[in-house]
Symmetry: C2
Subunit: 190 residues, 2 copies
């Protein structure tokens, strides 16, 4: 819990002693590499705070191929937030890329937690405004940059992250074949 | 203000009488058709709640062409939220597509408002979680659908909105030439 409490303190003014009890609302879970945290079509998913590890978000194309649409790592929140908020079924899956530890909270438990500690809304306001802002920037970049430039931008900004993600997932995320990504990587590294 | 208060009541449990004073933190502004609400490169922008009207978000490509990346209409919040939150310069512009009325709030005024009424964080938490969730769905769709399908999806879901947006902006948003969008439209309508 300490890691989440530190994260909350970073984005809100809530006093640390108030956070002593929030562990009651979360469930600590561990996933092995390649294990699913959430499955497309599943009902009302949880929301995950990633304590350690790395996950990818993907959906199944009609041809059965998995399409990676995003990644999340330590100190990020991952879920299908539409399904989480509305209680619908998940539109994509989440899978551990490496051994991953999370704090999971259901929509019901979150309601209880926010009713007991409404000050936490300040934290979630900041977190989701940031996430939405980052998403605006991502959308701008998909218009602005070629896929090759997107890869180089990624490499420059998140070199450590790139070491952790298998190349075939990065290729899927960027819409490349793995072979083409390998070519670009060579060109970029040389 | 009544429209914003209604919107706040829809997404939070804050008691209406507490909202009587929030008008003090906002500035009502009116923009003519084609007038800019926010300009790329400008410092620390405001956040706008759209009371009436419709805007588009765009940036200038290196060749000088405007690239539309999003739209916003009544009851939506529009801003460069990264610049709003961090006090940086805006990475895109916002322009009125039709005569538009907004409630504007600066980052400083928002801090004062949330310090006086921390319960409003519940509202912004819900609004930004929704916005981020919608953005996740948009990103999924850009992987899943061809641009033609995206247009048809848009037409089915937001027919009234499509009537309000000039075709050249919709073409820019979808990455079409205006001529090509016109062809697709004919095909779709026939």
């Amino acid at each position: 819990m300490q890691q989440l409490i530190t994260h909350i303190a970073r984005f809100s003014s809530i006093s640390p002693e108030k956070l002593d009890s929030i562990g009651d609302f979360f469930e600590a879970r561990a996933f092995k590499k390649k294990e699913l945290l959430l499955e497309e079509g599943q009902h009302c998913p949880d929301k995950f705070f990633i304590v350690k590890g790395c996950v990818h978000l993907f959906y199944l194309r009609q041809n059965g191929v998995e399409q990676t649409i995003d990644f999340a790592l330590e100190n990020w929140w991952a879920s299908d937030f539409m399904a989480f908020q509305d209680g619908g079924t998940a539109q994509f899956s989440i899978r551990a890329i490496e051994a991953t530890e999370v704090l999971a909270i259901s929509a019901g438990q979150q309601r209880k937690m926010l009713s007991a500690l409404p000050e936490l809304n300040e934290y979630f306001h900041a977190v989701f405004q940031r996430a939405y802002a980052a998403s605006q920037m991502r959308i701008r970049k998909t218009y602005e940059m070629s896929k090759e430039d997107l890869y180089q931008d990624f490499s420059r900004k998140y070199p450590a992250f790139l070491q952790r993600v298998p190349q075939y997932l990065m290729a899927s995320f960027l819409g490349f074949t793995p072979e083409y990504l390998s070519e670009i990587r060579k060109k970029f590294l040389s």
